[in-house]
Amino acid sequence: MGINRVLFKLLGTASLSIGAVIIVFLFSEQQVHRNNAFTRRYPPHPVVKTYNLDIGYNSYYVAGWDTDFLYLGNSTAPWHLLRVDLGTRDTVHIRMEPLNKGLRYRSLETRVLPPYFYIMDGTMPFILRGTIGDWKAAPWMEETAFFNRAIPIDSNHLFIRTISSQTQRSALGIIQQTDSFYIRLDTTLLETQLDGIFDVDGMLVQSGDGMYLGYLYFYRNIFIVLDSKMENPKNQRTIDTVEQGQIQVAEANSHDQIQLQAPPLIVNRSGAMDGNLFLVQSDRLGRNESKSMLDQASIIDVYNHQRGTYEFSFYLYHIRKNKVREFAIRGAYVIALIGDQLSVYRTGKAYFDQTTNTEETTGL
């Protein structure tokens, strides 16, 4: 048999094999990203990038704001805090300290809400609190409640997500400090579709003015808006069409762990709130949107939760193939953490100044 004929057969086999895998891959990509049932609006320049700032590490997260100061916490250096003056681009490295030197912790998260900063570990559980400027964290709450997410609402309230001991499901709640601490859980807010843990997973958000709290489901097209007392809940649908979370949970394995059986379809990646606006980061493409755009930018959809409307969308651009890890909005700024860079955008007044709302809030 001729060598050419053998090479031809080898090449044929290789092409068929490679082709088959690529086709299967493209098909699954298509399923994840394409949804022609909704259409986005991209008005010209709702946000304009002013600069990128090199912050040196990709482990920063948004810890809080103090007017034009943005505070970034660091997940690998939990006692370190970076303060960025968004106007002057000055950065200050801050070292926080616990008063209790022998403190034991597993995973710390810092939040800054003037005049205090909070260092929290929901697995121990404890919360330390100190004042901005002094940066010494004193024990504040201990062993009142476990939680897996928490954000301070004001100097004596925290918005948390925890697992209710009654229902064994995720629930939203408020930790309140009066003479002592007590927590109030509302097990009705998160609506179970499957198991009440995985399927309701999402993100706590809060508006900068402290008026509203929110919860963004990751796997369904819904976010919840609440007032600062966690009352008057209002569910709003996003423009996406996935109402039922597409997620599968496996049977417990031999180690008694429960795992996700398949990659869940992430409808909402992350969210942020400002005044009446609810911003949602989504990787899902609508009608007439080009797939290549997702390689260059992350899509942010803007909703008005008081009117219950979708307003518009805009892009936050990737930097050197790094995607937006987290974004936040406050006043005139939209910021995004991308790799080891901080992207700072200015918001266009015409688009974002929707806080003066003349319409009445319609019921619950």
Partner: protein, 163 residues
Amino acid sequence: MICYKFPQKQSSINLTHESMKVHAVHKKHLITAIVVLFIFLFVYAATSKLMDFQQFTIQLSQSPVLTAYANEAAWGIPVVEYFLVILFVFNEFRLWALYGSFALMVMFTTYIALVINFSDYIPCSCGGVLENMGWTEHIVFNLFFVALAVIGILRLESSDPTQ
């Protein structure tokens, strides 16, 4: 589909013939070594997958490439690997088995290349010691076996007496 016609029977008879030439002995040993390596690889890979079948199924279904076909693939991959081992055992089917192994290793390599370059996250679904390999090492490892298959195929095909 493309159909191949192989004159394996003649070639294997030729190889086991007593009066073969010296270079044919080398050929035979080289091919035997390649066959043994493949048998070892596939028996090991398939068995370690089946030993922790539930974990393997979950890992596959978490893979961004195979999500929709995870259950079929979880059975299919070990079955194909065992099937190739059986083909390797019989001299008449060694060439078929080599082509099959070549196709399978090319598919695995393509899969890894796609996952590394185009996927948002990287799951692992390899069994045993292979689990501890980095993705680059994995590609090198796969390419090594692709090369083995190619060498085996070229040798077997060229030992065809009709050439």
